[in-house]
């Protein structure tokens, strides 16, 4: 989703130093020696790790190599170990003896030099010959054994892996341990685990999954070329050329989002030369029109409106940053604190308390008062190096997060990094944190600088442009020149870039808090920043490697906020999803026994609407922070079957159909009834922006949009303003009224998407004032959770059928649920 300008940036640049142990990665010069066989020359350390011999001895024995050389920074300097007398270099024969009476020692070989009688005569004490290799390990005082810390942080290699890699080196001396794990093309990838021996194993598991997802994403996006596109030309406020066009959406999950890069092409004709230009999507209009801001304004065929082609330009940036973060996590010991390193890998670590003076009150200026569970979460989090906050729908996790960040920033441990996977969530957080009075910088991807943002004044690019001090006037002059002319002379451009970079740095460094997306945390502009305190919101919607990007910048205290009972990250590649890429770090930490602090008071839903979700997803712990009166929609005359319960399940028996694309579903009867419900809401005084229609299927979404605009009983424009979207894209948001169209109505097939309890949870918890669910109880009741929902509605006399103006309780029979959901 994030594209950036980091072509020249090298990810995970912290690399294996040449002399790191080829088995485990230990790189302390005092602990390593080099195999001196010319075809080998690999370095190994003197730790035993998980084997009976030290790594260097293991290598020498397995490879049948016998000579070694010490490191230049070791006490003896770069020295090939050899017999002082005969020059024999076989380390299996060498040992130290002391010369005569002084404390001078030399290496002497056991055969033949040690058994030469003449030496004895020369007063050498041959009885105390001390072999170089003792107990399958080099003498510890010659080649040091890495500390326990170093060993724990190193790759945990097994004897089996050693044997395998030594076997591999016989044919391919440059092979790495990663080559052992490389799956064949058709193999299922190795699934994710709960615990990992070390960060290398972690990387070995996740790197192939990210690669799979990246390949799939590339394939999907690059196949999105559209010919014969009709363009409407415009000029933006920044004088850049903008192309508007409709980019027909197929029934797949691919959606254009602001920041995406597209190429526009025209093949040329008699009066126009062939032309092409790339640009960034800056917005998507309500009419599903795409606005593309072109990078170059020259030569645009503005008098041509038809026959253009649009291609997707795929960028590997976000995937590169994930891979880079994993590499940094493995090879850079300072990337995260030792505690967090072991904690993330699932090692048992003695619990640690962060010793900070706690504030007297846990709220923050500019924010609403915190409730008891929020105060408890803030207080607890401030004292722990790693913590999870679970925020069920509407429980104020943004306010809680902002309060935590406020107190962290006041502790004076340097800048706090605040991230979330989505730009929307980052903006919301940035706004709340800024309200506390802290200095906030919102770092946007370069490709999104033209995308409008509710917190524009906090963005780095805006602050750079508006830092109006005299020292900066040079930058302003150049900026103006660039804006007017479109480009600068190469020397001016150089000056401009340098000034801009310096200003960006100055502004970023003076901020208390930096906010960006998780992927944005890998931006080269943050490359030299270190953050000891990191908060990640919506962390349950990020993949683990994505979450790692903001963490490997030196984190010592990490707070993950999210809700593992709502939807997780979207993984397009089924293979990667099956292998567990869709499981978030938050979830794995929960499975490892980290207990999240749960926020318990919800301020969104009418109490009647929160009852079922609370009981089904949160063990009944969700309390209502709003009363029935506060959610009574005065003046709205809608035919709720039970007046104090603004909810009903509207029984639908219409058939589902496969959509035109063949990959999705639609249900015409449900769509027609959605229109009737929408119209009734509108007639009763509800305005379009208060209504959301959600459905799990793209086929149905497109059909409803189309149906309402053609058949809506009221003004067409009203229906166009109503948001119709998938469950997934509604996560994190709310509407006053929600209409949920379930679509599936086939007795013999499953209910697909609706099977995921987390999706049902999200769907049921978007509405503040009222909800209408349309579906087929006969089909849905087979699934235990839906059976529970239907029973709940039936018990409250909210399961109805018939025309809207004459709803009657339905007597439809449920089916027995297949198996108990747990």
């Amino acid at each position: 989703e994030e594209t950036g300008d980091d072509e020249n940036y090298e990810y995970g640049k912290v690399d294996f130093t040449e002399h790191s142990c080829r088995y485990c990665g230990v790189q302390n010069p005092a602990c390593v020696v080099r195999c001196n066989v010319p075809s080998c020359r690999k370095w190994f350390c003197n730790s035993r790790g998980n084997t009976s011999g030290s790594h260097i001895v293991n290598h020498l024995v397995r490879a049948k190599h016998k000579e070694v050389c010490l490191h230049k920074d070791s006490p003896l300097g770069e020295t090939i170990l050899e017999c002082y007398n005969c020059g024999c270099r076989n380390v299996f024969l060498l040992g130290f003896i002391s010369a005569k009476t002084e404390s001078v020692v030399v290496l002497l070989c056991r055969e033949p030099c040690l058994s030469v009688n003449a030496l004895k005569d020369m007063n050498w004490d041959l009885s105390q010959w001390c072999p170089l290799i003792d107990d399958r390990c080099f003498l510890q005082w010659l080649v040091k054994i890495p500390s326990e810390q170093e060993q724990l942080r190193a790759r945990q290699i097994s004897a089996q892996q050693i044997n395998k890699v030594e076997e591999l080196w016989k044919t391919n001396p440059d092979a790495t341990l990663e080559d052992l794990e490389k799956p064949g093309v058709d193999d299922e990838p190795q699934p994710v685990a709960l615990k990992y021996e070390d960060a290398y194993q972690y990387q070995n598991v996740f790197a192939p999954l990210i690669k799979l997802e990246a390949d799939y994403d590339k394939m999907m996006k690059e196949s999105q070329s559209k010919d014969n596109v009709t363009i409407r030309w415009d000029i933006g406020l920044n004088k850049k050329r903008v192309a508007y066009f409709v980019f027909p959406k197929e029934d797949n999950e691919l959606r254009l989002v602001p920041g995406d890069e597209l190429r526009l092409r025209y093949p040329g004709d008699a009066t126009h030369p062939a032309w092409q230009s790339v640009g960034h999507v800056i917005k998507l209009t309500a009419q599903e029109e795409v606005a593309l801001e072109l990078r170059a304004s020259q030569g645009v065929p503005v008098d041509v409106n038809h026959g253009l082609t649009v291609d997707f330009v795929w960028k590997s940036t976000s995937f590169d940053r994930m891979q880079g973060a994993m590499k940094t996590f493995a090879v850079d010991e300072t990337s995260v604190s030792g505690y967090i390193y072991h904690h993330l890998l699932g090692h048992e670590v003695e619990s640690q308390v962060v010793r900070n003076t706690l504030p007297r009150r846990f709220g923050a200026p500019g924010l609403p008062e915190l409730n008891a569970s929020q105060v408890f979460a803030v207080k607890s989090v401030l004292q722990k190096p790693v913590s999870l906050i679970q925020g069920p729908p509407g429980t104020g996790k943004t306010v809680t997060s902002a309060a935590i960040v406020y107190h962290m920033a006041k502790q004076g441990q340097g800048q706090v990094l605040v991230c979330a996977p989505s730009n929307v969530a980052v903006d919301q957080l940035a706004e709340k944190i800024s309200a506390t009075g802290l200095k906030v910088v919102r770092l946007c991807a370069k490709s999104r600088e033209a995308v409008s943002s509710p917190v524009e004044h906090l963005t780095l690019h805006y602050q750079v442009r508006h830092l109006d001090t005299s020292e900066k006037s040079e930058l302003h002059k150049l900026q103006q020149l660039k804006d007017e002319q479109g480009e600068l002379s190469s020397s001016d451009e150089k000056k401009y870039k340098a000034l801009k970079r310096a200003t960006e740095r100055e502004i970023s460094q003076s901020a208390d808090v930096i906010c960006c997306t998780c992927v944005g945390a890998g931006d080269p502009r943050l490359a030299n920043f270190r953050f000891r305190q990191v908060l990640i919101d919506e962390s349950t919607q990020a993949t683990e490697p994505e979450c790692l990007i903001p963490l490997v910048l030196g984190v010592k205290q990490a707070v993950l906020v999210g809700d593992h009972c709502q939807l997780g990250p979207v993984i397009m590649c089924k293979k990667a999803a099956r292998a567990g890429l869709a499981q978030s770090l938050f979830e794995r930490l929960v499975l490892l026994g980290v207990k999240p602090f749960r926020l318990q008071v919800q301020y969104r839903m009418h109490p009647a609407l929160s009852e079922f979700p609370s009981n089904s997803f949160y063990e009944g712990t969700l309390q209502n922070g709003v009363t029935i009166n506060e959610r009574q929609s005065s003046g709205i005359d809608f035919p709720w079957p039970v007046p104090n319960r603004p909810m009903f399940f509207y029984v639908q028996m219409g058939q589902e159909e496969i959509s035109a694309s063949g990959t999705s579903y639609l249900n015409r009867t449900e769509a027609a009834n959605v229109e009737k419900i929408v119209t009734t809401f509108l007639r009763s005084g509800v305005i379009p922006s208060q209504i959301g229609v959600i459905t799990p299927y793209e086929g149905q979404r497109a059909y409803i949009v189309n149906y309402m605009s053609r058949n809506g009983a009221l003004r067409q424009q009203l229906y166009k303003e109503i948001e119709v979207a998938s469950v997934d894209s509604f996560q994190g948001r709310e509407k006053d009224y929600i209409i949920l169209s379930c679509v599936r109505s086939n007795e013999h097939q499953g209910i697909g998407f609706l099977n995921d309890p987390r999706r049902l949870n999200v769907a049921l918890t978007r509405a503040r004032y009222g909800i209408v669910i349309l579906g087929n109880p006969k089909v849905l009741s087979k699934q235990p959770l839906w059976n529970g929902l239907l029973t709940h509605y039936k018990e409250h006399e909210c399961l109805v059928e018939g025309p809207l103006n004459n709803l009657k309780q339905s007597m439809v029979q449920f089916q027995k649920p297949k198996k108990i959901y747990n």
Partner: protein, 127 residues
């Protein structure tokens, strides 16, 4: 401030793997010994001269830091490192081509190498 307690897992070495490694290790050792016996037993030459300056005064270690005290003196690990144990400073004599070089190195006091030297020094003192 980053002292952490990771619960040490007990390293379990697979006995089969250990036995196999041991076998290979001994085979390599044996082979090394035998090959040398055949090659060199006949005419062992002696080339063990030690330059006199090795026995003189204080040498400089390779960091250019002057090592206080005579060789053989007990020195305390400057870093005050692990256990702060006392080591003994010895000179290691190596050959670079035909030239001899000495390097300073710390050896634990209880190592047999230095113990025997100390004993002999003591014995000689008594004579």
């Amino acid at each position: 401030d980053d002292a952490i307690q990771v619960r040490q897992k007990v390293v379990e070495v697979d006995p089969l793997e250990e036995a196999e490694f041991d076998r290979e290790f001994r085979a390599l050792m044996q082979e090394s010994l035998e090959s040398r016996k055949l090659e060199l037993r006949a005419r062992p030459t002696l080339n063990m001269t030690i330059p006199m300056n090795v026995f003189e005064g204080s040498a400089r270690d390779h960091h250019g830091r002057s090592m206080e005290g005579e060789s053989g003196d007990e020195v305390v690990d400057e870093e005050g490192g692990v256990g702060n144990k006392k080591d003994v400073c010895v000179k290691v004599l190596v050959k670079r081509g035909n030239k001899q070089q000495t390097k300073q190195m710390l050896i634990p006091k209880d190592c047999s190498l230095v113990q025997s030297t100390k004993q002999k020094e003591a014995a000689e003192l008594e004579e």
